[in-house]
């Protein structure tokens, strides 16, 4: 077996940040195992992106190119990568844990008799792969026990992209043309489109009060709205609130909603599942109010209040009103 493959993902002809993080993870594995890193790009034409990747510390860049890879389908990506993996026989295949990777990587691994270790947040000696369990309340240490390539996808923000800094000497680039027939592609994807027109731009809000499942019922929302109004903040929510239709989807923060980084993010009754944390952990100051002292939201909070939000929030609203007078 010959090395570590890192799959680089692009969106609108730009390499995504999480792909550089996956490369950093691949380099950490390489440092432990002493094998070279190969970066892999997929598409109809990846020449310009390959140039950018080759300026990073990788042994080689492989351009997996085929007209049927122009638009993502799980069938084409799985076929192409399986052929490349059989040719390269890597020890590890590292991927960014994106919606796209989640769509094909489990099938790709299974086709090779393997199991993807998904959403990894750390790699330590062994290698031992850490991923979160129970919505972030616990960590699990996983290891690959079989023979054959070990598939790993890495969580956004878990590895530092800066660790994948540029080098002066460009790596060599190869083209790999997989065999794919049009009839092998069973799904027909449409062009991506935006949901409802966005009238709330949470991204530019300086202060955000965000509400989660702890609010229990739609009838209780005015409690949090009053706090937001007193503070002069935008109101946002975690996914379950929008799933229930209590607030519009455009107010949702998290991996499927908006990513925000305000001066203050005040999380009320939000436990802090990773899908929510990725959307707000870059905030300058995070305050969490939650009845569960073990809620993962407290792991990213600067200030925390453990208590019943139905008592704490009204008290806070009054205190803010008084302070503003």
């Amino acid at each position: 077996m010959s090395g570590i493959l890192v799959v680089i993902e692009q969106r609108e002809n730009r390499i995504t940040r999480i792909s550089w993080e996956a490369l950093a993870a691949g380099q950490r594995l390489a440092a432990q195992t002493g094998v070279p890193v190969t970066a892999v790009l997929l598409g109809a034409d990846t020449a310009s992106l390959a140039g950018e990747v080759a300026a990073h510390p990788v042994a080689k860049v492989v351009r997996v190119e085929h007209a049927l890879l122009a638009q993502y389908t799980p069938d084409a990506f799985t076929l192409a990568l399986k052929q490349l993996i059989e040719k390269e026989s890597p020890t590890h295949v590292v991927l960014p844990h994106t919606y796209q990777v989640r769509d094909y990587a489990p099938a790709l691994a299974a086709r090779l008799g393997q199991v993807l270790i998904s959403d990894v947040i750390d790699i330590s000696d062994g290698p031992v792969f850490t991923r979160q369990l129970m919505q972030g309340r616990l960590n699990g240490a996983y290891r690959h026990s079989g023979s054959g390539p070990c598939f790993v996808s890495v969580q956004a923000g878990a590895f530092r992209a800066e660790a994948a800094e540029a080098t002066p000497v460009a790596a060599k680039t190869e083209v790999f043309n997989p065999q794919i027939e049009a009839v092998q592609i069973r799904t027909k994807p449409g062009q991506p489109f935006r949901g409802s027109s966005q009238t709330v731009d949470l991204g530019s809000a300086q202060l955000i009060v965000s509400v989660g499942r702890g609010i229990k019922e739609a009838e209780n929302l005015p409690l949090v709205q009053d706090l937001a109004t007193a503070l002069g903040a935008e109101l946002a929510a975690s996914r379950p609130i929008c799933d229930n239709g209590w607030l519009p989807m455009e107010r949702q923060v998290g991996s499927s909603g908006q990513t925000v980084a305000p001066k203050l993010y005040l999380a009320v009754g939000i436990s802090g599942a990773i899908q929510h944390l990725v959307g707000m952990k870059g905030s300058q100051c995070i305050v969490a109010i939650n009845k569960d002292p073990d809620a993962p939201i407290f792991e990213v909070a600067d200030y925390g209040i453990v208590g019943d939000l139905f008592e704490v929030v009204p008290a806070l609203t009054e205190a803010i009103k008084a302070a503003k007078q």
Binding site: P74, D75, Y99, R102, D103, Y104, P106, A109, A110, G113, Q114, V115, R131, L133, M134, Q135, G136, L138, N139, G140, A141, R143, H144, S145, C150, T187, P192, F193, R194, Q198, L231, E250, S255, S256, Q258, T259, K263, S271, I274, C285, V287, D292, D294, F298, E299, V300, A301, Y303, G304, I305, V306, G307, E311, V312, P314, A315, E318, A319, I320, A323
Partner: protein, 264 residues
């Protein structure tokens, strides 16, 4: 249309989870369990598809694997309107990897030849998010993930074509056309979940639950990846906890917001 919904029973969301004595899994002794949330949405989508289809031979079958306690969750799904169920008795679910679990489910699905297999996009306990995709691979069927809505294009029944709405990141969506049979993983929020009616609960008691075992399905449990150890996460930040009565804590927070965060 014949639809199988693969569901999982997971610890209740608010449950206080503790690591077990061996440090390999959680202590399940005092836990309450419930239906995994995105699986509930998968069930809802299946029930709505059946109701829309109106053909007499449409049915919704729930499929689950796990220890004896999953019987309760299966009954609840039947009470919500599923027609019958398949229960795979399996006491080592937590030590099987995603492929091992999908093999169990695939063996049971194969015997039924459904038009659609739906399941939630990921479980709330392990959060691997892979079962549906691997299931499709093992069954040799096309799949789509993170689906909010399913529509039958043209005539219903075997070989129907479907149009699904897939969620992408950051508020983007995509429609995908695909043939059936197919496997879809369902994202939460596409529908409003129904409650079981009293009549539904009554009728669930008489509905057929087929009992299978992992051994009878002939699926080996040798994992490729192993969960070695469960630990508490490291804190990423040092959080300053503000204690006291709600009023005192609120006052302390206002002080911080005013003088340290400077947003008041």
């Amino acid at each position: 249309m014949k639809i199988i919904v693969a569901i999982k029973q997971v610890p209740e969301r608010d449950a206080q989870v503790r690591i077990d004595a061996a440090g390999k899994w959680i202590d399940e002794s005092d836990l309450q369990f419930a239906l995994n949330e995105s699986d509930a949405y998968a069930l809802e989508e299946a029930l709505q598809l059946k109701e829309k289809s109106g053909t007499a031979d449409s049915e919704v079958i729930v499929l689950s694997a796990g220890p004896e306690r999953i019987g309760q969750t299966i009954r609840e799904a039947l009470a919500k309107g599923a027609d019958r169920a398949i229960n795979i008795a399996c006491d080592d679910l937590a030590t099987r990897d995603a492929l091992g679990v999908a093999r169990l489910l695939a063996a049971a699905v194969k015997e039924e030849n459904p038009d659609l297999v739906l399941t939630g996009l990921q479980s709330e306990d392990l959060g691997l998010g892979q079962t549906g995709v691997i299931l499709a691979e093992l069954l040799g069927l096309p799949h789509a993930t993170l689906i909010l809505h399913v529509e039958v294009e043209g005539a219903d029944g075997p070989q129907a074509r479907i149009k699904v709405k897939r969620e992408l990141e950051e508020g983007w969506f995509q429609e995908i056309l695909m043939p059936t049979p197919a496997v879809l993983t369902i994202q939460s929020g596409g529908n409003k979940l129904r409650y079981a009616t009293l009549m539904g609960i009554k009728r669930a008691k008489t509905k057929d639950v087929r009992q299978l075992t992992a051994a009878a399905l002939g699926v080996d449990a040798v994992p490729v990846v192993v969960l070695d150890r469960v630990t508490l996460p490291h804190k990423q930040k040092s959080t300053q906890m503000l204690s006291g009565s709600p009023k005192e804590a609120a006052a302390a927070l206002v002080e911080k917001l005013k003088f340290e965060v400077r947003v008041l």
